[in-house]
């Protein structure tokens, strides 16, 4: 499998970070097979913000989730296509995200590809503190950093190191939990906890959250929507990923907070040179922040290119309609309609 993909990956240009090729995702429903994403292809250039625009239900979220194999199968079926991704950390190795095994994709999730979800109120676990939730990213992917920060240098080397490693990676069972209570090991555990605290505080400070030390002890319901989204962003960029997928990150927020979150994403993107796939149904917003745009309609990309060009000279009637609808340049109260495509 890996070899066949490798030979097919030759035509991957150097300046790309990811490339979607003829992606097809179908869903089994009561009415039969729904072609949710039906042959989508687009590229994401390294370091750019790529916009994916379309109305609700056109398949943009499913496309985004396919990057991380987060589409539930069943009812979903990945019917075909490739998502090639260049992992900069592992020597620009190019992989097909769709054909990776569970463990392989897990190594990329949160580490090389991260995602910001639409509704931060739902995407944070209500039962865990902010600290616990951000800490997980470091615990899973930055084990060495945690040990380094705690100034403990014997990972893997002996019994205690093995226990501490299990603790960091959250692979504990009852016996290990009991052993963590033994005084010398407990002292190490406390050091590690402090180190994790520091990493979490740094990550929160990155997103300009005031008082990160206090915020991290809170539960999600104690924070405002904007704060929650900052926490989500902190969590997503914790490992400085190559690709950040933002799935309508401002839709659930009110207008003023939206603007601040957008600024934050833009600023972080510039500072870390992260590539961003920005998904939205809001054209004016996408125009503001994206370098290039792909317009999606009924599971297909109908138009794509430089964002300014598309806004000035839309070719496809759907894009035209979208632009007109978003700027309301025509008489008020009349929405542009186009003939729909029957989903098959």
């Amino acid at each position: 499998m890996v070899q066949t993909t490798a030979s097919n990956l030759n035509n991957f240009s150097n300046h790309l970070i990811a490339s979607v090729e003829d992606l097809k995702v179908y869903f089994h429903s009561k009415e039969g097979l729904t072609h949710s994403v039906d042959g989508v292809s687009f590229d994401i250039i390294d370091g750019e913000i790529m916009g994916l625009v379309g109305e609700t239900g056109c398949g943009k979220s499913v496309t985004a989730r396919s990057f991380m194999q987060l589409v539930q199968t069943p009812p979903g079926v990945i019917a075909g296509g490739k998502i090639r991704f260049k992992s900069k950390k592992t020597g620009n190795q190019i992989v097909d995200l769709l054909s990776l095994t569970e463990n392989q994709i897990r190594e990329l999730r949160g580490e090389r590809i991260a995602m910001i979800f639409q509704d931060p109120g739902k995407a944070l676990n209500p039962g865990l503190t902010i600290r616990t939730q951000i800490a997980e990213v470091f615990q899973e992917h930055r084990e060495d950093d945690v040990f380094k920060k705690a100034k403990i240098d014997y990972v893997h080397k002996n019994f205690i190191g093995a226990i501490l490693q299990k603790y960091i990676k959250q692979r504990t069972n009852l016996i290990i939990k009991l052993m963590l209570l033994v005084p010398p090991i407990r002292a190490y555990k406390k050091k590690l906890d402090k180190a994790i605290d520091k990493l979490v505080i740094e990550a929160l400070a990155e997103t300009q959250i005031p008082n990160p030390e206090k915020v991290m002890e809170r539960y999600p319901h104690e924070l405002s929507g904007g704060m929650k989204q900052r926490v989500m962003i902190a969590q997503a960029i914790a490992c400085n990923p190559d690709l950040l997928i933002a799935d309508e990150p401002t839709t659930a927020l009110d207008v003023i907070v939206q603007a601040r979150i957008l600024e934050l994403i833009q600023e972080l993107q510039k500072r870390h040179k992260t590539s961003v796939l920005y998904i939205s149904h809001d054209l004016s917003l996408v125009r503001k922040i994206c370098d290039r745009v792909a317009v999606m309609f009924a599971g297909k990309i109908v138009e794509s290119g430089d964002s300014d060009t598309i806004f000035k000279n839309p070719v496809h009637p759907y894009t035209k309609g979208l632009i007109k609808a978003s700027f309301m340049t025509h008489e008020r109260g009349k929405l542009e309609e186009i003939e729909g495509i029957e989903a098959t």
Binding site: M68, R106, R109, D119, K122, P126, G127, E136, E140, Q170
Partner: protein, 337 residues
Amino acid sequence: MQIRDYIIRRLMILPFLIIGTSIIVFALTRIGGSPIGIYLSHEMSPAEVQEMKERFHLDKPVPIQYFYWIKGVAQGDLGWSGVASAPVIDVFPKKFAATMELAIAAGIVAVSLGIAMGTFAGARRNKFADHVIRIISVSGASMPLFWFSILLLIVFWVWLGWFPIGRSDPNLFEAIAHPTGFYTIDALLAGNWDAFKDAVWHLIMPAVALGYGATAIIARMMRSSLIEELQEDYIDAAKAKGLPKNVVLKKHARRNALVPTVTVIGLTFGFLLQGTVVAEIIFRWPGLGRWMAAAVLRGDQATIMTYVMFTSILFLIVNLIVDVVYANLDRRVELGD
């Protein structure tokens, strides 16, 4: 509100609740008529009956009788049990310990098995394991306790002879002291391994029989609430962080799925206490349930009132525990009002 403050506040209200309960219990028991019957015999003359009534203050109005009863309870006099032919206070603690041991063992079976089965099934929705667990739990919820108990008895006592009935081997019982009345704990305190093994061995069959129904209910609840939690966005977010399936399931989904399950667990405790009556009779367990059944049949009101009072207090305490656990699991719950 702080959890500690909340517990203190609830404990402060507890005495008032108990007084209220005692009035209700007293009034309801009196619906069964005067409790004098159990103390009389056919040979007594009317004068003797009258004397008996006066001795127990039963010639006074009912509200006054209540105060005599409460006064006695406050002094540690719970009345005379006609069924046991002894003061209730002498018999009650041992029987109470026996019943609690059984109910707690059944509770442990139900909670641990129920949560484990529910989680296992919920994570494997509509797979083979889920169907098997469904069959087990549906039959658990629908089989009457007395019938299931008798089945166990026939198979494991009569046919296979794996498990004994009763509460312990008489010789081993004599071998150790019984400070707590919980035989398993007594055996551990005495350091007598054989006695402990014997106590556990006797406990298994009635505990499984009694706990099966509750296991089924908890498992069904756990399964459905886990499936619901697994659909939530935060599960995808947790996966997107690169966490392995097991961590996502146990740390993220199960924790939140426990919230509704804990409420059900609190409710099943009452179910277990009721069940002890049947289980004790069938497995010859010398606990409150058996005593209670005899007391109801013979109108032994002192015993009935004590039993109902104690189970009510237990219920109040279990409720408090459930509330605290609930608030610990779901931080959005505000303790207090």
